[in-house]
């Protein structure tokens, strides 16, 4: 059961105007694991991540071929609502993106979109989400101050909490530690390891070391192509492909 497939990507290609960003990706992402996608800049990591909850829809002039299945159902199927998909597949961006409202309102933003307005229910959701993101103790006395006054690391954990408040099934994290110091990074990695009990996590790591610290499985992308995918340990110690080996050992990148 723990090895069940959450997301399958089937022959998925993605184009900006006519510029290909992803080419014929085939990949299976298992439930309740941390799955990392790494590769050099412009290798298509973010595009792949944003395709998983269709945030790429917001960009004009893009198209895709192939498909992505979530729990065996096509996410591009016209019959499924995009907003429902995005609630199930939450995303944390590479830079902290608190909205300029209070900490409480940031976390409650998603649940309120869903029509939850009861004060008591919202209080519970906010507390639970902040505890899961290991931020509660630091902010419980100032929930109604602006989220912009938090430090960078706290803001990023706030963004994680904001996604968790929707109780999604999948968490997409796009270099969530890119702007953070080592201590905040360690905090967030700790949080991720705790979260994988309940969530499927897809992580674009901030560097190779981060992938090796937290990821169960890892995929290596290069110029929009999937070079190889497997258990993290094997990718880093016995890569099958020469290009993976070169990148992992720092010969390019």
């Amino acid at each position: 059961m723990s090895e069940s497939v959450k997301i399958s990507i089937k022959d998925f290609s993605f184009y900006y105007e006519e510029q290909p960003a992803l080419l014929h990706i085939n990949m299976e992402i298992p439930s309740n694991k941390i799955f990392s996608i790494f590769g050099p800049a412009r290798s298509g990591k973010t595009t792949l991540l944003k395709s998983l909850n269709r945030l790429t829809d917001l960009i004009f002039g893009v198209r895709h071929t192939g498909t992505i299945l979530l729990d065996g159902r096509d996410i591009y199927d016209e019959k499924h609502s995009v907003t429902q998909l995005r609630r199930r597949v939450g995303m944390v961006f590479d830079l902290p993106t608190p909205l300029p409202i209070s900490i409480f309102d940031n976390i409650a933003y998603g649940p309120r979109l869903n029509g939850i307005t009861q004060k008591k229910r919202l209080n519970e959701i906010v507390e639970k989400a902040l505890r899961s993101a290991v931020l509660w103790e630091e902010v419980k006395d100032r929930l109604h101050t602006s989220a912009l006054r938090l430090s960078g690391g706290q803001q990023q954990r706030l963004c994680i909490a904001r996604v968790l408040a929707l109780e999604p099934e999948v968490l997409l994290l796009d270099e969530p530690c890119s702007g953070l110091d080592p201590i905040s990074t360690a905090n967030i990695e700790e949080t991720l390891l705790q979260l994988k009990k309940d969530y499927t996590i897809v992580l674009v790591p901030h560097n190779i070391q981060q992938a090796s610290r937290v990821a169960d499985r890892t995929a290596f992308l290069l110029n929009g192509e999937l070079i190889e995918e497997g258990p993290t340990y094997e990718i880093f110690t016995r890569p099958k492909d020469k290009r993976t080996e070169d990148y992992v050992t720092g010969r390019f990148g």
Partner: protein, 280 residues
């Protein structure tokens, strides 16, 4: 050596010119204020504010014109704000840069440059005569609304444009629909900018004369509904001064007009600063 000297000379000259320019602008503004206020403030009393004008405005107060100004400005803002903000949202969130959006933008830019008397003429022909609304608060309000619409569209569009893309992305990624994203993220963040446009428009509406005479009339009778004709303070001032009714009363009216505009601006700024402080 000479090169360096000329550079410093240019620098010094530029500084002097810029200082002169700003001092001159401020001086003009202060002179106008002193002129109107020193002549006008002695005329202002509680009776002046709360009495109706008598004998063509030679005696009594200006109460009905204050009411007229407030009604006309209020109506113009009520009509123009939703239309203008709606257009701005359409331009930024519902359409990309395209032929349609360029035509709308070109149209509003042109509209902004048209003299107000032309709006007055349009209002007179269309609202007063064709729609048979007569000289009334409604005709005047609609005319002023069309006049301030470009300002509101333009400032609202700028305000919406300034919102980071990441805010939209966050709202959509949390499962927001387009409408939810607009009402819960875009509008609250654009509010200070929209507000600035509305306040500018209030100032223009309060001071407008030409378009108002042609569409709202110049009746001194207290209005009873939006179909009544009225006289605004600006029109009152114009008629008092132009027809030599009473320069004293004209200055009094002018002073009240200026104080009202200053008050509106001050209060608006206070409210705006409080709103911005709450969010950061």
């Amino acid at each position: 050596m000479r090169f360096y000297q000329s550079r410093y000379l240019t620098q010094g000259l530029a500084k002097i010119l810029i200082w002169v320019a700003s001092l001159f602008s401020i001086a003009v503004m202060i002179l106008i204020l002193i002129q109107i206020l020193s002549e006008g403030i002695p005329v202002i009393s509680l009776n002046f504010l709360l009495d109706h004008p008598r004998s063509m405005g030679r005696e009594g107060g200006i109460f009905s014109t204050i009411i007229g100004t407030a009604a006309l400005t209020g109506l113009a803002i009520i009509f123009a704000t939703p239309l203008g903000v709606g257009t701005a949202i359409f331009l930024r969130e519902y359409t990309r840069e395209s032929r349609v959006s360029r035509i709308i933008r070109f149209g509003t830019d042109c509209l902004a440059g048209i003299p107000s008397i032309i709006f007055g003429l349009f209002g007179f022909i269309f609202f007063v005569i064709y729609l048979n609304l007569g000289w009334s608060i409604l005709s005047g309000g609609l005319t002023l609304a069309s006049m301030i619409l470009p300002t509101i569209i333009c400032t609202a569009e700028e305000a919406i444009k300034a919102i980071p893309y990441s805010y939209r992305e966050v709202s959509y990624s949390l499962g927001g629909t387009k409408w939810q994203t607009i009402t819960r993220t875009i509008l609250p963040n654009a509010l200070p900018g929209i507000f600035t446009g509305v306040i500018l428009s209030v100032g223009r509406s309060i001071g407008e004369t030409a378009a108002v005479i042609l569409t709202a009339g110049s009746s001194l009778v207290m209005p009873t509904s939006i179909f009544s004709p009225i006289r605004t303070m600006a029109v009152h001032f114009y008629i008092l001064a132009r027809e030599g009714v009473s320069m004293e009363m004209a200055y009094g009216t002018g002073a009240v007009l200026i104080i009202m505009v200053l008050l509106v601006n001050t209060i608006a700024n206070l409210l705006l600063n409080r709103y911005i402080r709450q969010r950061t």
